[in-house]
C-alpha cells in the first residue's frame, strides 16, 4: 500500500482547513467562501466543498488528506469524500456549546464508514473554561460501546496534526 486516503471531519471552526494547511507538503486545495450566516460571528470563511493536502510519512508512505465541510447542509459532500478512504479524524472544538453532542453527531453520520475503518478524535481549544475533561469524552464514547483514541491538539501546530495522523495510521496497521 503506497498511498492512503484519510478524511478529516468535525464541526465548523474545529480547524479542519487549518490542520490540512498546517501539515500539507503541497499548497493545500481550499474551497472556502465568505460566511453569510451566524457563523460569520466566529469565522469569515467556511469550507463548502473540500480541503485537500498531501504528505509523506517517515516510512515513505504517501498520505492524501481530505477535509470535509463542517456544516450540516454540506452532508452530501461527506458521502462523496469518504469514498475509498481508510481512516477518519474527527476534530471536536471544545469551545462550542456541546462538544460531546458534536462528537456523537459525526460518529453517527459517519457510522457506515467507521464500521469499515478506524477513527481517532482530536480535541481542539481544550483550554476553554467550559471544555469537558478528556475523561468525559472517553466515558461518553464507551457508553455507546466504542473505544477510540482521543488526543488533545493545537491544530495550528504541524506536530500536533502529525500526532493525529500517526495515531490513525498505526491503528490501521494494527487492524490489518
Amino acid at each position: 500500500m503506497s498511498e492512503i486516503k484519510l478524511i478529516i471531519t468535525g464541526p465548523p471552526g474545529a480547524g479542519k482547513t487549518t490542520a490540512i494547511a498546517a501539515i500539507s507538503e503541497t499548497a493545500p486545495v481550499k474551497t472556502d467562501t465568505h460566511t453569510t450566516d451566524d457563523l460569520a460571528a466566529v469565522k469569515e470563511q467556511t469550507t463548502v466543498a473540500m480541503d485537500f493536502g498531501e504528505l509523506t510519512l517517515d516510512d515513505g508512505q504517501k498520505v492524501f488528506l481530505y477535509g470535509t465541510p463542517g456544516q450540516r447542509r454540506f452532508e452530501f459532500m461527506w458521502k462523496i469524500l469518504v469514498e475509498g478512504g481508510l481512516g477518519l479524524i474527527i476534530l471536536v472544538d471544545c469551545s462550542r456549546p456541546d462538544p460531546l453532542a458534536d462528537l456523537h453527531m459525526y460518529l453517527d453520520n459517519f457510522a457506515d464508514f467507521i464500521r469499515q475503518t478506524s477513527v481517532v478524535v482530536g480535541l481542539t481549544r481544550t483550554d476553554h473554561p467550559d471544555a469537558p475533561a478528556v475523561a468525559e469524552f472517553y466515558s461518553s464514547i464507551e457508553s455507546s460501546g466504542r473505544v477510540l483514541p482521543i488526543l488533545e491538539v493545537d491544530i495550528r501546530e504541524r506536530e500536533d496534526v502529525a500526532l493525529l495522523i500517526n495515531a490513525l495510521v498505526s491503528t490501521l496497521e494494527f487492524s490489518r
Binding site: 453569510t36 450566516d37 463548502v48 466543498a49 447542509r73
Partner: protein
C-alpha cells in the same frame, strides 16, 4: 438564525428578472439565487426541486470550479456547467457573496443560456447591494 435576506424591493426585482428569463427561453424551468456558502435566497421554479439542497450543492460545485481553474492555471472561472442527457445546469457568481443557477432542458441552446444567465447576473449585481 441570521441569514442573508433580500429587501422586498430586491425580491420584487429578482422575480421580474426571473420572469423575463422564462419569457426569453421556454427551456428554462428553474432559477435560483443562493449565497456562496450555500443558503437559498430567492428562486422561481416551475418544477418541484429542493432549493435548500441545490443551494448547498451549487456553492460547492462553483467553489470547486474556481479551485480547479486555479490548479490548472486558468484565469477566472465564469461558469460551471453540468450537462445532462435531458438538461443543463449552469452556475455563475453574481458578485462576491451571491451565485445564480439556471436550470433548463436541452431545448435551450447552450450559447443562449450563457448570454441569458450572464445578462441576468450583471443586472442583479448592479441592483443588489
Amino acid at each position: 438564525m441570521s441569514q442573508y435576506k433580500f429587501s422586498e424591493r430586491s425580491e420584487a426585482f429578482c422575480q421580474d428578472l426571473f420572469q423575463n428569463m422564462f419569457d426569453t427561453s421556454d427551456a428554462i424551468y428553474g432559477i435560483l439565487i443562493s449565497t456562496v456558502d450555500g443558503h437559498d435566497v430567492s428562486k422561481s421554479f416551475s418544477r418541484d426541486m429542493p432549493a435548500a439542497k441545490l443551494s448547498a450543492m451549487m456553492s460547492a460545485i462553483l467553489a470547486l470550479g474556481e479551485t480547479i481553474a486555479v490548479e490548472a492555471e486558468q484565469q477566472q472561472c465564469r461558469y460551471v456547467i453540468v450537462e445532462n442527457s435531458d438538461g443543463y445546469i449552469l452556475t455563475l457568481k453574481i458578485k462576491d457573496k451571491l451565485i445564480l443557477s439556471v436550470i433548463a432542458t436541452t431545448q435551450a441552446n447552450l450559447g443562449m443560456l450563457h448570454s441569458v444567465s450572464r445578462n441576468a447576473a450583471e443586472k442583479l449585481a448592479a441592483q443588489l447591494r
